[in-house]
Symmetry: C2
Subunit: 328 residues, 2 copies
């Protein structure tokens, strides 16, 4: 049994769609229990409205709302009784296996960082790992938007973390790692990427070289390492492309159309994982509907079950232990 | 009458598709003449094979082939009789209005830079301007891949050049200019973008703020200013999306399907313009087929006819003249 704490007030359409997503998640996945953290009366009323009376959903009272633009450190300090902070605190106490919020993502990151703590000291801010669709399946994008102005060595750490992520979550052996760049040749691109290329040649990952924007969509690599800035642009372009496609074509009622919807709908992604932490913190999309919340809970359970967070910590700490050897 | 010089040996499928594209361009556009620069006998044979005997295509003998990985400066120095250099040299002499190559893009850039010269001193390397598809029409992307590690002031120059480009080429008044970033708020993103945001507020463009990857596809801005690195990723992702769509769905025989093909097919873009030069130098895609070459010629003629290059030079030089006033 996997227990997932879910921020009932997180997201643009909370708490309605969050409660509905939780109910569907437990109904469709007998191995998942959800702890809904939010204003107890309101959440229970929502559950009653949906006719849910099972015991796979527990409600923990956490009445304080968190605004999308509220200062993350303020939220952590002043709102311990918010749904968001409560979700993470429950995991810290060992009462749940994963914590999900579609609310203020900065606050979720700070709460996870401060309460769960880093599994390694290599990241100043936990990078965001996300499984995105490509032509043939999925690739893991790290960092999807937490960091800016990274050093070359940080990009290498993204590659290592992404590689462990792909192994656990996508079940790949020796996932192919690419560096997102503007050409295949190693002398191409900004200075930081040219430096990262050289470091990646020696890093403990299956580095296949630079990957261009077109090849990324074609699925040439299983893991894409890039700056948080670039990752954010990529992530949002994928979303934008899907939206545009829906707007122009609606649902295409062919096998290809169904496959496209299943893979490319942002709701299929469910949520992105904060990497390098002692635990499983998931950021879901602010515009999540019930289906997206359900998928975020399912993905959170899978992250916890496959031990992605732990594996990433081990992998990065192993590098650290190796460092003196490398210098010798 | 607009005269376009075309590098007959440029591109992966040259000279066959180049000659075919030239023939179709002049047949379908009575206001265009093409000067094919390449090995004379071979080009004339190609024209004869297609049964073309009109006088809208002229052949200039330029037999030296240029490899895709040949050093740009070597090409300029050692191969004045290549198709690529000849195309640009003819424009320098006033014999054609625009020069197009689907060959070695670095060599084309250096040839244009050295032979045509800069129209203003603001750009070290001419940025690449490209009209890309969005939900509602097109947006102009500057820089699409010539520069890396730009200063904030260079990003502002990209915005000004892109704005003049959109006015002339897309016929827009006061085009909306966005800065590609990872969030809407002005404090978001890498340091260079935060600085560029502040400079753009005072720049002579219709700056509408930061634009995210999703909004870019949705067509929220008419001009996107970004680093050459980011622009290259965006450009190639757009190409990748189109390829993926074709792979999954083929041609969708509905009005939306035709509109999508017409807008998103990379061949519809035709070619990208080198900005900030005394003349019209166009880089076409290396994988161009005959339709792409035809479109590159048509677009080149439109660039020349609408005076994009001249307008951009004037606009950037006006800024320069204003500078002392701004400092006073």
């Amino acid at each position: 049994m996997i227990r997932v704490a879910l921020d009932a007030l997180g997201g643009d359409y909370a708490p309605g769609v969050v409660i509905e997503g939780a109910v569907n998640a437990v109904k469709n996945n007998p191995n998942i229990q959800v702890v809904l953290c939010g204003p107890e009366a309101e959440v229970k009323e929502g559950l009653a409205k949906l006719g849910y009376a099972g015991d796979a959903i527990q409600v923990v009272d956490a009445p304080a709302p968190v605004a999308m633009d509220e200062s993350p450190t303020d939220v952590l300090r002043k709102k311990p009784n918010s749904g968001l902070v409560t979700c993470v605190a429950l995991q810290k106490k060992g009462m749940v296996d994963a914590s999900v919020s579609a609310g203020n993502s900065g606050a979720m990151m700070v709460a996870c960082l401060m309460l769960l703590g880093r599994s390694c000291k290599r990241f100043e801010r936990p990078p965001i790992g996300c499984a995105l669709p490509s032509a043939d399946g999925h690739f893991v994008l790290v960092d999807s938007g937490a960091n800016v102005d990274e050093r070359a060595s940080t990009l290498v750490d993204f590659a290592i973390a992404g590689s462990a992520f792909a192994e656990c979550f996508l079940g790949l052996e020796k996932p192919k790692v690419g560096l997102l760049n503007m050409g295949e040749e190693e002398h191409k691109g900004p200075a930081v990427l040219r430096e990262a290329y050289q470091l990646l040649k020696e890093a403990p990952v299956n580095f296949i070289g630079n990957i261009e924007g077109r090849d990324l969509i074609q699925g040439k690599a299983d893991v894409i390492a890039c700056s948080g800035f670039t990752g954010n642009v990529v992530l949002k372009m994928v979303e934008g492309f899907y939206e545009l496609h829906k707007k122009m074509f609606g649902t295409i009622d062919t096998p290809a159309g169904h496959r496209f919807d299943k893979m490319w709908d942002y709701r299929a992604t469910g949520g992105a994982l904060l990497l390098g932490l002692n635990g499983t913190g998931i950021i879901a999309h602010g515009i999540s509907d019930a289906a997206a919340i359900e998928q975020a809970v399912v993905v959170a359970a899978k992250y916890a079950e496959t031990g992605v967070a732990k594996k990433i910590g081990e992998r990065l700490n192993a590098i650290k232990a190796d460092e003196p050897k490398a210098e010798a």
